[in-house]
Symmetry: C2
Subunit: 284 residues, 2 copies
């Protein structure tokens, strides 16, 4: 496994690989490597010839400088965890190389998922799409691996890739979970043990919605009511949003049919967590 810091070296390697017909898989991360990332790396290993894990904390994806600065960074530990997997390159560019002082080109997906509760602010989304577009240009992956937990991000990136005719495919893998049901995620880093235990309610609420569908429920608002009820049972949790949407277009769904994406955002103490689940509506 090689660690690459310089953009020019990563670009040169990916150009060379491309001309040798090697398919690259990219697992983009902001560090704080957790079992969710490991499951993405495993999926990438299976589907592609060569796996690149990027570690880059993009300032544009934070709502404030304070939030950006307090974000955990432990590069040594992250590299140690990644090196235990079968990874070819860790790409960890410096901020001043990714976003030099005069940087001023942005890519933005507009008029998409605006009606969805829980959709991040435009400034955040634009930071996310711009950062990932740059990563795609540098690493040139055939496949980009994201967890279903970040289904919104996945759908927005798929839209960007389609609109801009990029040759990269987004692969969304199942959510990796702690035995309690809590989805692994970077924000878990900030949770105390009692908060972690409490946060398992989020997945329970998603499972309750899924069960309701299995029992014949087809009204999205009834599912949201069910999610709200389950979350209310946990005093440390506060529901921020819940939605039932088309997984591709992110249009809110009223009456269920086919596959739907159910998403929940909840505050546990000071931390906003989110989780998602794809549910199949049984044929009538």
């Amino acid at each position: 496994m090689e660690i690459i810091n310089r953009l020019s070296r990563m670009s040169a390697i990916s150009a060379k690989l491309l001309s040798s017909d090697v398919q690259i898989g990219l697992v983009p991360t902001m560090g704080v490597i957790h079992p969710g990332h490991v499951s993405l790396i495993e999926a990438a290993r299976k589907m592609t010839d060569l796996v690149v894990v990027s570690i880059f904390v993009s300032r544009m994806q934070f709502h404030s400088d304070e939030e950006y600065l307090k974000y955990p960074r432990d590069f040594t530990k992250d590299v140690d965890l990644v090196s235990q997997q079968n990874v070819d390159y860790v790409f960890s560019p410096a901020e001043e190389e990714m976003f030099p002082r005069d940087f001023s080109t942005y890519v933005q997906v507009e008029r998409f998922a605006e009606k969805l509760p829980g959709i991040p602010q435009p400034a955040y989304l634009r930071g996310m799409t711009t950062t990932v577009l740059k990563m795609i240009h540098i690493v040139r992956p055939s496949f980009l691996f994201l967890g279903l937990k970040d289904a919104l991000r996945g759908a927005i990136l798929r839209k960007m890739i389609r609109d801009l005719n990029l040759g990269t495919e987004v692969v969304v893998t199942p959510v990796a979970r702690h035995p309690s049901g809590l989805a692994y995620g970077t924000r878990n880093y900030f949770l105390t043990e009692p908060e972690k235990a409490a946060a398992a309610v989020i997945y329970r609420s998603l499972k309750a919605a899924e069960e309701a569908i299995a029992h014949g429920e087809r009204q999205a608002k009834k599912l949201i009511k069910e999610i709200t009820r389950v979350l209310a049972s946990e005093p440390m949790a506060r529901l921020e949003y819940a939605f039932v949407a088309d997984p591709e277009t992110l249009e809110p769904v009223n009456k269920l049919h086919g596959t739907v994406l159910i998403g929940v955002g909840a505050r546990i103490g000071a931390n906003e967590l989110n989780d998602s689940l794809l549910a199949e509506t049984p044929a009538e």
Copy 2:
């Protein structure tokens, strides 16, 4: 020479060429092929293994639907002219494939060249950068060929390419001119013969500025005064803007040094024409 209409076919061909280490040169056009395009094709032929000429009239690059609809289109004649050159592919996608109804992803270069007179409106620029970014993703050129007449466009695209870490290089070639000095350009199509004769004043004004530099002038405002004076000598012409700027950053220059870009926009009858010249300030 093959004519390609489908995006998927063009993408498949460029991916295959890339994996065979073939360097692609792209000459982007909106049709109305003229000697300026021919000189771009010749430059591309010399520098690259394979030449793609795109013909696509992007609606986003017009200020109004009316202007878009009255834009001249003669695909048969264009293809005939291109086929007389040594071109490998003409890529001419349909508008509904390039910009389907739900298209909504835009790339924008911000805070760049804002102070420059003659810089197009943000909506136009965004249309231009988005269209070219899509073309780059589809055709994957190593080099993109533009004429110096569109030096602004070249500088903005270079900025986009640098900010987004694309592997494409912009090659700006000298302006191809009619013996009268008039730069070949699509808008010439709309000029009457007397207007064409009158329009030669634009190049004369640029040459006058260049001569002033040769005679020791170093003040940009004096050059602009000279351009204004020459243009005023032609009753059919009306100066829209003139600038002296850094060719890379497009920052306006006050006191000349090194290479400067001198640009002029003028109205001849109902038509806005533009022209540019790179001038070298002699060492003191």
